[in-house]
Structure formats: structure tokens, C-alpha cells
């Protein structure tokens, strides 16, 4: 990539390009210890613009989750009811995601009746039908 092209690629573009290539990355400040998502130009702790990308190991814990029973935006009607979760990577950064079944390759809505906050989930970069690749997280199958 030319230097000029690199200069116009925003951290957000870099983040989604990495997802397309199959890895979830977050930003790590080169002047303090802070690591963060979502992608932005400056460290929100020390305001430095010097950061590097680090690849997440894929382990996270569930902070909270919800289940949509009503359609608020277009394109989600066929997936109702569907979950949205907030997870925290073991490396620290947090992100919004969907939880999926561990046992199936294509994303499938899991049974979350016995889910508890703090439960470990594992990164699964995959796409919902007709959607973009997304960082989803697999929750262990219920017995």
C-alpha cells in the first residue's frame, strides 16, 4: 500500500479490514498502558496519537446481554428474537457482539436461559446470512 493510501485509512477502516482477514484487533497506546476499542485516532487516556494494533486472543467475558423481540432497524426481522451482548476481552477492551452457539459452524442463536454475567465466551469471526463478517462470540452449549 502506498504511503498516501495508508494515510487516508482511518483506524476504523483498519479495524474492519482486519476482521475481513479473520482477526479481531484492538489499539494499544505506545505512551501509556491503555488498550481500547472502538477504534479512534487518539488514546482516550493520555491523548497520544501513537498506537499499535494488537490481535485479541479471543477470550472474553459476558458483561451483559439483551434479547430483541421487536424490530428496531431494517434487516433484523427474520432473526427475531436475537441477542446482543456486551463483552470484555481478557486484554481489557469491550465490544458489542452477538452470542452464538459453539456447536455449529454457521452462526446460530443460542439458548441463553441459564447464561450468567461473567461467563467465558470465545471469538468466532463469521457472518449472518447476507451480512458482513463480524466478531461474534460463542457461548458453550447448554446441557
Amino acid at each position: 500500500m502506498s504511503e498516501q493510501a495508508a494515510a487516508v485509512r482511518s483506524p476504523r477502516d483498519e479495524y474492519w479490514a482486519a476482521i475481513e482477514e479473520g482477526s479481531l484487533r484492538f489499539q494499544a497506546c505506545q505512551e501509556c498502558e491503555n488498550r481500547w476499542l472502538p477504534p479512534r485516532d487518539h488514546c482516550p487516556r493520555c491523548l497520544s496519537g501513537r498506537f499499535e494494533w494488537q490481535t485479541a486472543g479471543g477470550e472474553a467475558e459476558v458483561m451483559s446481554w439483551v434479547i430483541y423481540h421487536m424490530e428496531y432497524g431494517p434487516n433484523f426481522h427474520d432473526r427475531l428474537p436475537y441477542n446482543v451482548a456486551l463483552v470484555r476481552l481478557v486484554e481489557g477492551p469491550q465490544l458489542i457482539t452477538n452470542l452464538v452457539k459453539a456447536s455449529s459452524d454457521d452462526p446460530e442463536e443460542p439458548d441463553l436461559d441459564s447464561l450468567k454475567a461473567g461467563e467465558r465466551v470465545h471469538l468466532r469471526i463469521a457472518r449472518w446470512p447476507d451480512g458482513p463478517l463480524l466478531p461474534l462470540f460463542a457461548v458453550s452449549d447448554r446441557t
Binding site: 474492519w16 476499542l37 472502538p38 434479547i67 430483541y68 421487536m70 436475537y82 456486551l86 469491550q94 458489542i96
Partner: protein
């Protein structure tokens, strides 16, 4: 203070509703509009417009010393009271008119269904999802139940049933709440506020000016404060508490009062969980005890802390916050339809976004 009808007002522009509310507020204060030299108004939530304060001033036939819009979402109305009070105190202006109107019920509502940036790809859309995420974490951490959230809706709806101006006057039971359809689990429909057209306005001036002008029954502003969490839900390390704590501490300190002195509270109830967490943030109960606090009629008439005595956003009108200030004024004046006996001190909370913004007002004598 004054307001329009609440509910569906088809064909009314937001400027029209603001003017009606301002006219009513000026009549209530017993003053001519030409005394007003400050006009503060939040732009309509459902449709951003540039220079909205100036547009309203034109419609009011005024060229005020100060006008404009401060964007604190649902916290803006108390934010404007604070700015007006400080501007008056520092001699920048004399009499302020503070107004808000919106028409999301009859007009456009798209602002309430906005996708949350890239996270829309996950279906993370709209305020109910955000507050459901907050509610789940509170339930997981503290054992708060949906039935406890229901107690808040039951109380507000019972208060609204007595209020002739309330948009939704049908009382409900905890069982009704539990049977109402799931919107975003763990929130039911009856956890969510109304969508309303309407406007409301208040007049702010110094106590001395109010005496000179023989304003009938002015209600003193004793304290105000703000605290802005700012961060979106996804970056917040803890969803169960916000800078509402700081907002309340600032307002209580300015007023020289503590939570136990408060007789009645008008707390922002866009969603039941928001009111519950505000009770904790303000120190009416310890963190995590909000669920217990709202049980058994404790926030109803004769309870330890009657809240939202005109019905709040869940029953009176879904418009963001001015109606809560107006009901606090009524309580201190002794003219509420659900009057708390000898109410001398009232607190009001305003908040916006998914608890990103917060402001607090203490009124009383």
C-alpha cells in the same frame, strides 16, 4: 410555568407548541413577554434544527440578550435552568424563558430508532436495547427483578390515572406489566415511556425581581448540579451507576440538604430501570437496593418517597423532562393532583441518551 396538552397533536409544529407553552408560562408568572431577555430551548429531539433558539425568539417576537440551545439530550431542561440562574446572578440577563416541545408521535420519530454506529450490524439499535443492557447487569449483580421494575410502572401509572392532563390514564398491576409484551428482554412494553407530542415552559428570575413584579407563588430554586457519564454503553466499565451521583451531590450541597430531607421526587423514567438507578445514585438507598426500595408502595402516596406524582414519562407524557420540573413546582405550591402533604422540598432529575447525561434540580422553601 405552563404547558400544552400531551399526547397526539397532529398538524402542530414544534415552534407552535413552544409558543403555546411559553404563553401559558408567562400568564402563570403574571408578566408581560417584553420583560423576557433570555430564551433557552432544547431543539426538538426528533428533528435537529440549527439556531432553534433564534427561531423560537422570532416566533415570540423577542430579540433577547441571550438565546441558544444546549445539547444535553434529556438533561437539557435542567441544564438550561442552571444557565439561566447563573446568567441572572451575573447580571447578563433578567428574566429567562425556558421551553421545550417536540412532536415525535405525529411527526418524524427516526431519531429514536437510530443505529449505534458500526454496532448496528449486530442489531444494536435504539434506546430500549441500551436500557435493557443496563437492566440486565443490575439484575445479574444485585438480583433486581422484573417485578420490582414493574412496581415503578404501577406507581407512575396510578399517579397518571389521577392526572386529567396525562396521556395514558389506565392504571396497571404488576401482573399486567408482566403480561405486557417483551420489547427487549429483560424490558417489557410497560417498562418503556410514552411517545408524545407536547410542549412545556417555565420562567426563571431572581427572587428579588419576582417580589418587584408581584409574581404569584414563585417557587425558589435551591440547588442544581450536573454530571455527565458521556461514554457509550459499549465503553462503560460499569453500567449500573453513572455521574448522576455527582450531579445529585452538587445539587444537594448547593441547596444545603440531604436525600432524607426530600419530600417528593420527580425522577426521569424513560425506562423503569433509569428511575431505579437514580434512586440509588441520589442516595435514597444504597447501590443495589433500588429494587427493594420501590417495593410495597414505598414510592407511592404515603410512602417513604413519593415519586413522579403527575405520572412521569411512563404515564403523563414521554417528552423529556420539563413536565417533571413543572410537577415539582406544583408540589411545592401544593397544587398537585397527587399532592404530598406539606411538601416543602422537591428534587427533579433529568437525563439523556442511555444515561450519558444527567442534571439535578432542587426546588423548595
Amino acid at each position: 410555568m405552563g404547558h400544552t396538552a400531551f399526547g397526539a397533536l397532529p398538524g402542530r409544529s414544534t415552534i407552535s407548541m413552544n409558543v403555546e407553552a411559553c404563553r401559558a408560562a408567562l400568564q402563570d408568572a403574571g408578566i408581560e413577554k417584553d420583560l423576557v431577555d433570555c430564551v433557552l430551548v432544547k431543539f426538538p429531539t426528533s428533528k435537529f434544527e440549527h439556531m432553534y433558539g433564534h427561531k423560537l425568539s422570532e416566533a415570540l417576537g423577542l430579540q433577547p440578550k441571550i438565546t441558544g440551545v444546549m445539547d444535553q439530550a434529556g438533561a437539557s431542561n435542567i441544564g438550561h435552568v442552571a444557565i439561566a440562574a447563573m446568567a441572572i446572578e451575573s447580571g447578563q440577563c433578567d428574566v429567562a424563558l425556558i421551553s421545550f416541545a417536540d412532536n415525535p408521535k405525529s411527526g418524524v420519530r427516526s431519531a429514536y430508532q437510530q443505529a449505534q454506529g458500526d454496532d448496528a450490524a449486530f442489531g444494536w439499535i435504539g434506546p430500549p436495547g441500551g436500557f435493557a443492557m443496563v437492566a440486565r447487569q443490575h439484575m445479574e449483580r444485585y438480583g433486581t427483578t422484573s417485578e420490582q421494575l414493574a412496581e415503578i410502572a404501577v406507581t407512575c401509572r396510578a399517579h397518571g390515572a389521577n392526572n386529567p392532563n396525562a396521556q395514558l390514564r389506565r392504571p396497571i398491576t404488576v401482573a399486567d406489566h408482566q403480561a405486557s409484551r417483551m420489547v427487549v428482554d429483560p424490558l417489557h412494553r410497560d417498562d418503556c415511556c410514552l411517545v408524545s407530542d407536547g410542549g412545556a415552559a417555565i420562567v426563571v428570575m431572581s427572587a428579588e425581581r419576582a417580589r418587584q413584579l408581584n409574581v404569584p407563588d414563585p417557587v425558589p430554586v435551591l440547588g442544581f448540579g450536573q454530571g455527565h457519564t458521556g461514554w457509550e454503553v459499549r465503553t462503560r466499565p460499569d453500567l449500573t451507576t453513572t455521574q448522576a451521583v455527582v450531579s445529585a451531590q452538587t445539587a444537594f450541597a448547593m441547596a444545603g440538604v440531604s436525600p432524607k430531607d426530600i419530600d417528593v421526587a420527580q425522577l426521569y423514567d424513560c425506562f423503569t430501570i433509569c428511575l431505579l438507578i437514580t434512586l440509588e445514585s441520589y442516595g435514597f438507598c444504597p447501590p443495589g437496593h433500588g429494587g427493594k426500595f420501590v417495593e410495597g408502595g414505598n414510592i407511592g402516596p404515603g410512602g417513604e418517597l413519593p415519586v413522579n406524582t403527575s405520572g412521569g414519562l411512563l404515564s403523563e407524557t414521554g417528552m423529556p423532562g420539563m413536565q417533571l420540573i413543572i410537577e415539582a413546582v406544583r408540589q411545592v405550591r401544593g397544587t398537585s393532583v397527587n399532592q404530598v402533604k406539606d411538601a416543602a422540598l422537591a428534587v427533579v432529575s433529568n437525563q439523556g441518551g442511555i444515561m450519558q447525561t444527567h442534571s439535578t434540580l432542587v426546588l423548595g422553601r
